[in-house]
């Protein structure tokens, strides 16, 4: 297969690193060569986070060049715009329908993006949106938001749900597994209808 490039972006504390871990594990279980590279800054929460996963027959660079992401998964709406330059011309976009106001805006140091809706529409006409927070809330655990997104993301990868779930079993502690798999399935259904 052609190497597939996935960029996962969002805000520290949203569970991006676990999601990319599970994607990387899934690809490994499928017998592919995998590279997962992340930049997560400091200990505190709230900063921009990016993790990149590449998989295929043979993967060299751990970094996805600008304009080469086949898939951009943004855990937050503003971050989706911030990483626009990563997306390939025919790349797909999955956006978590959630706003997290950066401190620079909430404290009045910088102006908010007034026309965020319009800009997202213009930049990503075919984007898939998932309200992962709302779905996780229905399931009674907001911390499983990332697995809802993983479920949605899984439909855009060449791997079946069974492989994904095996990766989750290997990575997530047993007592949290059920809840997370439920969230994953909710995410899958949300985009498959």
């Amino acid at each position: 297969m052609k190497t597939m490039n996935v960029s996962l972006v969002g805000v520290g504390g949203q569970g991006i690193l676990l999601t990319s871990d599970i994607l990387a594990k899934t690809a490994t279980l499928a017998g592919l060569d995998v590279k997962k590279s992340e930049i997560h800054g400091m200990a505190q929460r709230g900063g921009s986070v990016i993790s990149q996963v590449r998989f295929g027959e043979k993967v060299y660079s751990p970094i996805i060049a600008d304009g080469m992401s086949d898939l951009l998964v943004s855990f937050e709406r503003l971050e989706a715009l911030r990483w626009r330059h990563l997306l390939a011309p025919d790349g797909k976009v999955l956006i978590n329908d959630m706003n997290m106001t950066p401190i620079t805006v909430s404290s009045g140091q910088q102006p908010a993006v007034a026309d965020l809706d319009a800009r997202l529409k213009a930049e990503y006409p075919g984007a898939l949106y998932v309200d992962a927070m709302a779905l996780a809330q229905t399931l009674g655990n907001t911390r499983a938001m990332n697995m809802v997104l993983a479920g949605a993301l899984s439909t855009l990868t060449p791997f079946g749900a069974d492989v994904w779930e095996q990766a989750m079993r290997e990575r997530i502690p047993a007592k949290l597994l059920d809840m997370n798999i439920k969230a994953f399935e909710a995410g899958r259904q949300a985009v498959q209808g």
């Binding site: 929460r45 660079s61 600008d66 626009r84 330059h85 620079t104 404290s107």
Partner: protein, 591 residues
């Protein structure tokens, strides 16, 4: 059956150390190297491992273990190597007994560092051996090979990682029946000619170090870690480390000499490679370490104007190089990054115990020499309470130097507990001894915060979670001889202002310990919630000066010139500071 696991290079170091029979590991945390010891701790049954108080001590512990005949490992970030250079420079004369492997993790592009350094230069300077892995599998294999090489040639052996190897996970075959390796310890034999390099013993050692360098150069020409990948010989590319991966992506058709063992530089191999290609191009991250040596050998190297010798390497930069040299690629048509969006910089957590101190220092108009940790964020608006940051421990010497230079006003040094133990104790000793009057403020949150919450001598636990004696910073200061040592609650703004004013205005040296747990590490992020009563809020803006991420602009008043405040109940961790800043009792605890 061979076992394949997805590992970051940091994890691969730990697995390899276990397999190689490493017996002792000591390190001080630092991004991107921190996870190395955290993962070594998973093999604590066979590796005696610890957080040292700084990199110099970590290096000395590893050297001691090596002298005793055991295999030993130390790990640090690039700036940590600066701190550890002194013992290293002499141990390369003495020579390793048990294998000594040193991991240094560089941070090209400064994702989380105050500078970028190319550790390869220091490895050469120290006359040590250097392995440069390009992924986790190579890291695993090279760590094992480095232990063997270190013993065979009696040389400290480096593994140079970078952010993109340390924090990239790739598939690693850890071999059949993975488990702790059994190696025979080298005997320790008392030998002052070897272990005590006074001048008369050091001179012959210097000569031996040179002979060893030549022997290792020959090793470098034969080891499979240095390999020629034959291709189109119109261009021959010499590369190393993660940069190799980018070269394979952007220049896939050309001959490559991949150097996995780059110091001592394998000159004969390089000459052989150069002779077999039309033109030689050197592509490496950071300094022209290899390129200068290739040129010094008299080999002609392709000239170009694409800047490659600073900041992080990536495929796009190499596409620009290829475009310049061959004119046959265009970088993919990417949108330009939108620089007009509101930024999302790191901020002190909601409820961080450092916030009140900076709020107070800002109010007192102090000149603050800062240091390195989460608290460096006190420099930014709206706190604006830090003037300088140089390197770990520098705050104290810097403040004292300002005083010595005759600078007026309230001068103080601010540093964290881990930084104090790392290199602050000698600083305050110097202030006292030399008659300084500055105030040193230790932000004592009982954890090494910024690197992801590691234990330290003030936290009561070791790397492996065992109980440990707690060192009290106030007692340290008193034992050094400070008369003015004050402990204050970091969440009490009234007490903070009183104490800091008093100490900053006193003409005697003092140490203030502002105590409060790291809110994130102590799992207090949901400890409570506060609320602003919009009817009482006068939009005075006092609480905004705290810069708490939970406090947002609410309703606009006075034609949008001022704003009432609003607290995000999800982010608020209930630290109480904002309540103390409000003169109108508009802020109350609701949970």
């Amino acid at each position: 059956m061979s076992q394949k696991v997805l590992l970051s290079a940091n994890e691969a170091v730990a697995w390899a150390a276990c397999k190689a029979g490493c017996a002792v590991a000591s390190a001080y945390p630092g991004t991107p190297s921190t996870e190395i010891l955290e993962n070594v701790a998973k093999f604590k049954d066979t590796i005696n491992c610890e957080w040292a108080v700084n990199e110099k001590v970590a290096m000395e512990v590893a050297i001691g273990a090596s002298i005793a005949g055991a295999r030993a490992l130390t790990a640090m970030k690039h700036v940590g190597l600066n701190v550890a250079m002194d013992p290293l420079m002499t141990y390369t004369y003495v020579g390793a007994n048990g294998g000594l492997v040193i991991i240094t993790a560089d941070d090209p592009g400064m994702h989380s560092s105050q500078n970028e350094q190319d550790s390869r230069v220091l490895v050469k300077f120290a006359r040590a051996a250097l392995f440069e892995p390009a992924d986790s599998q190579e890291t695993f294999d090279m760590v094992i090979a480095a232990f063997e090489l270190s013993e065979k040639y009696q040389v400290p052996a480096f593994i140079r990682l970078t952010t993109r190897t340390s924090h990239t996970s790739t598939v690693v075959d850890v071999g059949d029946d993975f488990g702790p390796g059994q190696v025979e310890r080298k005997p320790y034999v008392k030998d002052i000619r070897r272990y005590i390099p006074v001048p008369m013993f050091a001179r012959p050692q210097r000569v031996r170090a040179q002979e060893r360098t030549e022997a290792l150069r020959a090793f470098g020409c034969e080891t499979p870690f240095n390999r020629i990948e034959a291709g189109d010989t119109r261009l021959g590319i010499i590369t190393s480390g993660v940069t190799y991966q980018f070269v394979k992506e952007v220049f896939p058709e050309f001959s490559v000499l991949k150097l996995g063992f780059a110091n001592p530089f394998p000159s004969d191999l390089v000459k052989r490679f150069a002779a077999g290609v039309d033109r030689v191009l050197v592509i490496e991250e950071l300094d022209p370490f290899m390129e200068e040596q290739v040129r010094a050998m008299g080999v002609q190297v392709v000239e170009h104007t694409t800047e490659l010798n600073m900041l992080e390497m990536n495929p796009v930069r190499l596409m620009a190089l290829r475009k310049e040299l061959l004119g046959d690629v265009e970088a993919p048509a990417a949108h330009r990054a939108d620089t007009g969006l509101p930024t999302r910089p790191p901020v002190l957590c909601a409820g961080c115990s450092h916030r009140g101190v900076f709020y107070t220092l800002s109010k007192l108009g102090a000149t603050v020499t800062g240091d390195i940790g989460c608290y460096t964020l006190g420099a930014f608006p709206p706190l604006n309470a830090m003037d300088t940051t140089i390197c770990m421990g520098a705050s104290i010497g810097n403040a004292f130097g300002m005083e010595k230079a005759g600078m007026q006003g309230r001068i103080c040094a601010v540093l964290g507990d881990s930084t104090f133990f790392h290199s602050g104790m000698t600083g305050i000793l110097n202030v006292l001894y030399n008659g300084g009057t500055i105030t040193t403020i230790v932000l004592d949150n009982r954890i090494t915060g910024m690197t992801g919450h590691q234990e330290n001598p003030g936290s009561g636990k070791t790397l492996c979670g065992e109980p440990a004696p707690v060192t009290d910073i106030a007692e340290v200061a008193k034992a050094i001889g400070f008369k003015r040592v004050v402990k204050v609650d970091a969440y009490d703004l009234v007490a903070l202002e009183r104490v800091l004013k008093e100490e900053l205005d006193s003409h005697e040296p003092s140490v203030v310990i502002a105590g409060g747990p790291c809110r994130l590490a102590a799992k207090l992020m949901n400890a409570g919630t506060y609320e602003v009563d919009p009817a009482k809020c006068k939009a005075c803006g006092a609480c905004f000066k705290l810069g708490c991420p939970a406090i947002e602009r609410g309703e606009a008043v006075a034609d949008g010139k001022r704003f009432k405040s609003h607290i995000d109940p999800v982010q608020c961790s209930g630290c109480d500071l904002c309540r103390q800043t409000c003169k109108f009792d508009a802020i109350t605890k609701i949970r």
